[in-house]
Symmetry: C2
Subunit: 116 residues, 2 copies
């Protein structure tokens, strides 16, 4: 039980699209991740998807529209909604998902995420 | 489904210790709140308590110790742990709690929180 500095945790990540767990909140993983480029379109049948932009900005493509999500902005994708995050420059994001949620919606990616 | 700017939402709050809901994540309220002074010691039997400091700093008194939590830092109080947030100067915080969680641990404070 101690404070977790988000910038410090992000400084330890050199990969992209590779969320690292920094804390637990009930049955959820609290994670930080660096985005650049495009992630595949996907959806989560059973959970909303929580994104908070900590640095930079991303675009969230959702069904037939796109939202720019800037530093200090939160975007929650409701369960069952097809979405794709992308970023033309590196973007740092706080993610929250129930433990065991596959990143891409594909159960093959549901293994435990690395912990910082 | 749109981006939620945390600074904009906080600019609409003039009270302290009065969380306002800005989004929903599964069965949780995502809230912003302004702290100053001391909240009562309390605990939540059934949920962890998620605090992310957005501006300023707070102190979290937890059992027999205290943690300073600075801007950009996360602090999660595990369920069942007695705690008290306090701040000598105004501090802005993102909170996440399951819907219906009483602020102070007292069910009398479990009514719906205002929404921004």
């Amino acid at each position: 039980m101690k404070p977790v500095n988000l910038t410090d945790k992000l400084s330890k990540i050199s990969t992209h699209w590779d969320p690292h767990v920094i804390a637990d909140y009930n049955d959820n993983d609290v994670m930080v991740v660096k985005f650049i480029g495009e992630f595949p379109f996907h959806l989560h049948e059973d959970t909303d998807d929580f994104f908070l932009v900590l640095k930079g900005e991303m675009t969230m493509d959702v069904e037939d529209t796109s939202h720019i999500v800037k530093e200090g902005e939160l975007f929650i994708v409701p369960r069952g909604v097809t979405h794709r995050p992308r970023a033309s420059e590196e973007c740092h994001v706080l993610l929250i998902e129930p433990k065991g949620t596959p990143n891409s919606g594909d159960p093959a990616t549901a293994s435990s995420k690395p912990r910082l």
